[in-house]
């Protein structure tokens, strides 16, 4: 079992005008969209919630690495770009319910053992239409929201390709609210879990 997920990211130009300040807070979001759409007619069953995060907080290693790759310039002008864009990125992550299906289970691999001779687990996994439709709804909703907020969409993608047993570590790094560029890089680096489909 996995949870259904889709992540989108936007650049908020209105944040550029806010004076630099400490985005004090916990490691993660302070507000979210609680479980919804479960009580209305959709083309998918159950519901999902939306986690949101981003803004200015403690920079991590490699924070401006991708920004420097993507923006032109050097020296003072590049630094100014970094300062201007820092904290203007927000991410939206839908997280919903997967319906258990008979194609998703694990058993003992008949051939492979680990270094102590203990038999290992073998995983079988398949998304059904329910999950794919829910991920699509998350993407459409997220796109509409960003349009309303007049933000520039950076990337949008569902994690419908490679499911994982747990997202805990990935989520915590994403939600620690680092700069979006770093998050993008970190996703590549840490997990590779979802080669995002556009």
């Amino acid at each position: 079992m996995d949870s259904v997920g889709s992540d989108g990211e936007g650049y908020f130009p209105q944040m550029e005008k806010i004076p630099p300040h400490n985005h004090d807070g916990v490691g993660g979001m302070h507000v979210y969209v609680p479980w919804w759409k479960y009580d209305r007619q959709n083309d998918f069953p159950r519901g999902y919630h939306i986690e949101m995060g981003g803004g200015r907080d403690m920079p991590g290693v490699g924070m401006f690495h991708d920004l420097c790759d993507e923006e032109e310039g050097y020296g003072v002008s590049l630094k100014q770009t970094c300062r201007k864009m820092y904290g203007c990125f927000m991410g939206f992550s839908g997280r919903g319910e997967m319906i258990a299906n008979p194609d998703s289970y694990c058993d003992i691999d008949p051939d492979v053992v680990d270094q102590w001779g203990i038999p290992v687990l073998r995983f079988h996994f398949k998304w059904s239409d329910h999950e794919l439709k829910m991920a699509k709804d998350m993407q459409e909703h997220s796109a509409r929201s960003r349009k309303r907020l007049a933000v520039r969409t950076l990337r949008e993608g569902a994690r419908a390709t490679i499911p994982t047993e747990s997202r805990t570590a990935v989520s915590s790094s994403m939600k620690s609210g680092r700069h979006a560029w770093e998050r993008i890089r970190r996703r590549r680096c840490l997990t590779d879990i979802a080669r995002r489909t556009t």
């Binding site: 908020f12 944040m15 985005h23 004090d24 807070g25 916990v26 490691g27 993660g28 979001m29 302070h30 507000v31 979210y32 969209v33 609680p34 479980w35 479960y38 009580d39 069953p45 159950r46 919630h49 986690e51 981003g54 803004g55 907080d57 403690m58 920079p59 290693v61 490699g62 319906i99 691999d109 680990d114 270094q115 102590w116 203990i118 290992v120 687990l121 073998r122 995983f123 079988h124 996994f125 398949k126 929201s145 309303r148 907020l149 390709t161 490679i162 499911p163 994982t164 047993e165 747990s166 805990t168 570590a169 915590s172 790094s173 939600k175 620690s176 890089r185 680096c189 840490l190 997990t191």
Partner: protein, 304 residues
């Protein structure tokens, strides 16, 4: 949680952990800045910036991985699946995003609503008192909202929204999307000797002050304080032996962990004969087995 409850209830418990012990003062680096690291943390020639080259260890709570040497898993030919595992006391509770939400009444009756999956054999009302207990002990912030799909709990006050979140909230309010303070297992007020969060925002890298929840820092210390917990680290549970599977001697159930470093096994035996008080805990990360009233019966080496 089980180790805490059982030891405080007077039972002796052995906790097996496949990984090393956790020392937050040494292992957690949540306040280290990039400029405090050699090469700003990027390694010689920036090599640590690239996948799998070590940046993770510096900027995440320790010892979790998508692949663990010597401990593979397999994926069927027509499937894609990745498995994140943690090998350290407290397991993945050291890493998680701290979002601590309750199931709603409707979640226990899903099949009755849409015909898919299964209904739970218990209801929200059955489990609600335990939610109360856990939230009260680990500390969760949030607000009372009376939203049926997100039941309220025992909450500490939430932190104020950041300015970016104020923008989002205003936008949501305008179009009628519910947007409420999140509910996370992070203290905003001191609790049981743990100080309130100091808002460094680095939960994903661990918290030396235990202001966020992890079983390693919040549940295991009180269990240890009872004197009835034996924590064995570096011990991979190899098998659960039962009367049928092992000894000619009519035996109680035992489990056989592998000491990782020495690659030897030893068996932990329950004193009592059947019915055996064996509990297998697999809901939290790592593999934990706890036997009541157990002793280490013997050790022996195996060639593996």
């Amino acid at each position: 949680m089980a180790a805490k409850v059982l030891t405080e209830g007077g039972l002796n418990v052995v906790l097996l952990e496949a990984g090393p012990p956790l020392n937050p003062d040494v292992d957690y680096k949540e306040h280290v800045w990039p400029y405090e690291l050699p090469h700003r943390g990027a390694g010689v020639g920036g090599h640590a910036l690239w996948p799998g080259n070590g940046l993770e260890s510096e900027f995440l709570a320790p010892t979790g991985a998508w692949t663990i040497e010597g401990e593979p898993y397999t994926v069927a030919a027509d499937s894609k699946f990745r498995w994140f595992r943690s090998r350290i006391v407290g397991g993945r509770t050291n890493h998680w995003g701290r979002i601590a939400l309750r199931f709603a009444p409707v979640d226990f009756r899903s099949k009755s609503r849409d015909g898919l999956g299964e209904d739970w054999p218990i209801s929200y009302e059955d489990i609600a008192p335990y939610y109360d207990k856990v939230e009260g002990y680990i500390g969760v912030f949030g607000t009372k909202e009376n939203i049926p799909s997100a039941p309220d709990g025992i909450f500490q006050p939430p932190p104020k929204p950041r300015c970016s979140e104020v923008i989002l909230k205003r936008a949501c309010d305008k179009v009628g999307i519910p947007c409420i303070p999140s509910r996370m297992a992070i203290l905003t007020e001191a609790l049981n000797g743990r100080p309130a969060c100091h808002y460094c925002g680095q939960c994903g890298r661990g918290c030396r002050r235990a202001s966020n929840f992890s079983s390693s820092q919040v549940l295991i210390p009180p269990a240890q304080k009872t004197g009835r917990l034996t924590l064995i680290t570096g011990a991979m549970a190899r098998e659960v032996c039962s009367e049928k599977t092992v000894r000619p001697r009519a035996s109680p159930t035992s489990i056989r962990p592998v000491a990782r470093r020495s690659a030897s096994t030893r068996e932990l035996w329950s004193w009592r004969r059947a019915p055996v008080s064996l509990r297998v805990f697999s809901s939290t990360p790592g593999r934990r087995f706890s036997l009541t009233a157990l002793r280490i019966r013997r050790a022996r080496s195996v060639a593996t």
